[in-house]
Subunit: 572 residues, 2 copies
Amino acid sequence: METIMQIWRVDVVTQKLNREPVPAGWEKLGGRGLLARIMLDEVEPTCEPLGSKNKLIYAPGLLVGQRLSSCDRLSVGGKSPLTGGIKEANAGGRTGLHMAMMGMKALILEGKPKADGWWILHLSLEGARWEKADELAGLGIYDATPKLIEKYGKHVAIALIGLAGELELASAGIQNIDKDRIPSRMAARGGLGAVMGSKGLKAIIFDNAGGQNPPQEDPEKYKPIRKSYTTAVINHPQSQVYKDYGTAAMTMMCNTMGALPTRNFSSGEFENAENISGDTMRAMTLERGGKGAPAHACMAGCTIQCSNIFPDANGESLVSPLEYETIGLMGSNLGIDSFDVIGQLNYVANDLGLDTIELGAALGVAAEAGLMAWGDGERALQLVDEIRQNTPLGRILGMGATITGKVLGVERVPAVKGQAMSSYEPRAIKGTGVTYATTPQGADHTSGLTIRAKVDHLSPKGQVAASLNAQLNNAGYDSLGACLFSGFGFSTDPTLVPELVRTIYGWEVSDNYLQDLGKETIKMEREWNRRAGFTNAHDRLPEWMTREPVPPTNAVFDVSNEELDTIFDKLD
Amino acid sequence: METIMQIWRVDVVTQKLNREPVPAGWEKLGGRGLLARIMLDEVEPTCEPLGSKNKLIYAPGLLVGQRLSSCDRLSVGGKSPLTGGIKEANAGGRTGLHMAMMGMKALILEGKPKADGWWILHLSLEGARWEKADELAGLGIYDATPKLIEKYGKHVAIALIGLAGELELASAGIQNIDKDRIPSRMAARGGLGAVMGSKGLKAIIFDNAGGQNPPQEDPEKYKPIRKSYTTAVINHPQSQVYKDYGTAAMTMMCNTMGALPTRNFSSGEFENAENISGDTMRAMTLERGGKGAPAHACMAGCTIQCSNIFPDANGESLVSPLEYETIGLMGSNLGIDSFDVIGQLNYVANDLGLDTIELGAALGVAAEAGLMAWGDGERALQLVDEIRQNTPLGRILGMGATITGKVLGVERVPAVKGQAMSSYEPRAIKGTGVTYATTPQGADHTSGLTIRAKVDHLSPKGQVAASLNAQLNNAGYDSLGACLFSGFGFSTDPTLVPELVRTIYGWEVSDNYLQDLGKETIKMEREWNRRAGFTNAHDRLPEWMTREPVPPTNAVFDVSNEELDTIFDKLD
């Protein structure tokens, strides 16, 4: 039986599942773009993010299930409790693939339960089953996951929240298990774990028994294109770098550019950067003989394998994965130069189900407020434990960097639209600063990192164009379910993306399809945000970054507001 | 020497005072309207409220110093750290009068000191003097005020902040001494005390030695109009009510309407309302034989005398004043039915320099989060003491109801644009709900209370018109420096306001001058807010108030968004 894509709509109050035909206007969208469409069509932009009118939406990208390397990604969306705007959080792992195999074009969770109590939602081709999850309540991700796998089988995909989501903290994410059943691929940003918590869901099980990969319209034409793409990905030099060093390869690159956030973004250069570099991580991993090689795929069939399992001194897994953005925010940003300490912080954040970027930024702000000394990992762990204890301080930190700064009285908060910046200093990579400022998502490197754009990163010139190009590409990739690193392959031959879509779906799409998809997506997101009350006044970096030079480049952010406001002119 | 009105501009970094001619376009404005003009001309709307670009502005109204009953009020303004929007906080006391006598059309405080340390700014006709205030740092309002009076003399006016302002908490106000030197007339709302704190100012002394009341253009024509006004105020029946019962007269009126906020706005009727009524307050005051009569004027020459000094069991002052809005927010809203407890809460809030409305609302939200039992005054006092101790919980509460709700995870927050509602339940007085939603000031009854409008307060019909009328009148009064209760006099004869202005200033003004002034003011405020990023999406009551019926009327807020959005159509 061929997989027919449908909308799976679940009312968490009545606990009913409806499987509906895909409405007109939704068919040609997937992932991030489909989220935006659903949000525009169904979610009142001024609604309470944790109230009954918000929806939590899962949507695999258009290429998911097509056995393309790095193209099985999932978009999770809703109104963000962190930013108050539209949110897409993107994750690898196996959830996207299972959804596609089960024929889920999107899963829409709606309503808000009247009573307390936690539930597991089990979805299979037979429908929805609800099971009480009260015995899992309060459990961390690492305790809850094996219990769920034991109960529901090794073949299922799982999306679940930790204590942070249960507590409805605005930096709670939704964790997904990867191809090896490690809970490691989080739809981390924007607090969607809190939205899931508000819906009373501890976990969603995607049981793909009986499902199959979606077909291609023209399998014969599809195969060689798929092969060209795979070859291009494998042959790209960056693929090998990421396989050997993971995203930690970025540490020294950013440090050299003066763009490694250090001590709450007060510097772009960390004197001990080498201790937290890709080289050091690789050497430690190999020396400690962890069970995982440095290279580890998060999705089946991924040839890049940028993920990793970082071992402790005994060779046992300390955490998986340990990514550059965490290394920056929980390492140099806190003055911490030890992978073991960063790994511990990463582990407890994962266990609580918290976005490590937002938490790292919040800790940096707390350090600036005097709550910890720079480099004091023990104290950082204590602060994170406040979140587990649900103390007032813990709740402050769990609400993210912006609230932490407000409540503790710190002006120097590295955030836009209430969301913390990632590990790329925007004064030293100004195109990424433009992205942070203008993306509808709040400060977010995955919306349009420009670190490889051919511009002088310290000059204000050309940054708006560089950011726009990256934003359109990335919104396109996010709609396709393509990992941003799939660009290693796709960028070598611009015909690959449109040809894949033509042969899979039989759609007539333009040669500029990737960016067209990105344009449509961002246009919808901006329209939703406009209705939610966002204006150009929100498309700004924090004031202090326009004034305070960041060593060692001593750059300030000087792309003018007037220029920022032109970025999407051609979309409208 | 005749008083010449000038702009007094103080740079808190260089500690220089410039006295400047009043710029074109500012001459015919005063109080709230002048603040809006200065904000538009000088303050970048997206600036950090506690940063160097925000300004703190004091402006007496146009009628101040004219020996008119109830017309010596002061407007204090700037960008609000609570709402992120434009803010005018209005206060009685003697500051406005002293400013007018010294020729201050407005005092503009700008910049942000680089170093820590607290200052007293002494202003007199001789200029500005700066004195270290480090020995006053951390002192409460009630300890600091006598020291300042002792040092600077009994004749000065004083504006000062408490610990809350020093800690830059977003619900910190600016306290002013009244005609009897009691620190009791706070420019409370919107966190302007934090802005004053960010400028390193513990207190401003207005020494009017050598100053004199500003003149009238046509004193002979002026006198009879002044007399007509005074007679009208005195003869208005409400004047006597307020003199006898103070604003506490509102308790039973609101309770009867189902509009007395009770237990975090979960009801509009309080079973023990009589214990906190105007009758009870008057009886207790008379019985206890306090030093102040129930009737107490906050400004020299006020014939209404709605203020009071509430005595403790020994007849000593417990707090002054005890106003209805505090009684509602710190009484019924917390389930507290004792004037002694409310008075204590009011006293500590005053001493810290906190807005009692915002704090009461924050405590209500905290109670809903489980941090105190309804009616537990001891616990409420402990919670306020957390603010004094500057604990994380104290900082949360001091940031106001909205942040408290966010951090503690409470959806039921009675606030608009980040500012808490006052003691008028908007579902039962829907015109006031329209005001809360649409005023540029954030939820604020003084922007346009409609409780006396001739409408069915429970019907959605006619509320937008009632609110608009009240908003225009009140913006006019706030620009004139006229207490809202001056309306008892002015409303009896619409020629009084324009005639006063004609005879004082010689300006040609229309017969509809009061509302014209209001229109101009609100238009400027909305424009400033628009530039700061506000849209119609922010002109909304909280979602839960549109859904949750409030007993005993079981009304929901059902003025439509579409109608709300028309309110200012005629202004544009």
